[in-house]
Point group: none
Chain length 140, copies 2
DNA sequence: AGAAATTTGTCCGTATGTATC
DNA sequence: AGATACATACGGACAAATTTC
């Protein structure tokens, strides 16, 4: 494997991709990022490089890390429009699984799922709505 | 304590030995492997190295691991019609706007929207479902 | 039912060797 | 020669799930 770092170093590229996932809501606030080991596998990068990328995100305040637990996405605020008309850009709620979601998660229809919805606006108009579904933590 | 990796790395050697034990039946299907702590003692290797060896076996489908329980030799392999490379599956389709989406996009309820759904799996089980909604390109 | 021990999961810091730009 | 990256390896610590007492 070569080691080309045209333009930007590798850890910056990885950091940017993770940043995009967080800001797009694909990794919602409070959710754990993939483990270092998973990231090394996904990006085909060495652990040191992944750690460098995460360190950059941490420095930028996008994530927080807890020893022995993992790295969380922190609630992100759009720096785009500082004012923003008090509309919730991202909200979390519980919804009942529709038939398709139920099948995907292998649960019964109507099972409570966590839904995280986030919006991307441009000039005030909603451009994209992202809804992320995941199962609730098991009740022992 | 040096770290020369001429020839084969240590984790490969450990993995090969464990593999031999499984395939020879000395570790029968379904049986638990020695704990990581036991393996570190036996092979005089760091825990991370042992875990790397086990990860290789897991990747090869020879063993499965459960948090807090242990790693066991897989009972019957060859039951898996699995993807293997694809971490995310994506599909695109058109859906009718529900009342909330209609309000967000400032369109009428029932208006056709583009929905992109992607899945994130871990060990074959769906972890997260992400649905991204956008307006269709304007049609005059 | 509850506490302790076991075991795996994850992160941290560090170190050495190799390879490429 | 230096910066970047990769691969490997060590040791320590905390977190979480499971089992055992």
């Amino acid at each position: 494997m070569p080691t080309p770092h045209y333009g930007q170093p590798r850890y910056r590229l990885i950091a940017n991709q993770l940043k995009e996932r967080i800001e797009s809501g694909r990794i919602p606030p409070g959710a754990l990022l993939p483990a270092e080991s998973a990231l090394t596998a996904e990006f085909q990068a060495a652990r040191g490089t992944v750690r460098q990328a995460i360190a950059a995100l941490r420095e930028a305040g996008l994530v927080a890390t807890e020893h022995g637990r993992g790295t969380y996405a922190t609630p992100h605020q759009h720096e785009r429009g500082l004012d923003e008309g008090s509309e919730t850009e991202t909200q979390q709620r519980q919804v009942a699984a529709d038939p398709e979601l139920a099948a995907l998660f292998a649960v019964e229809v109507g099972t409570t799922l966590m839904e995280q919805q986030s919006l991307a606006r441009a000039d005030g108009a909603v451009q994209t709505v992202v809804r992320t579904y995941r199962r609730l933590p098991a009740e022992h």
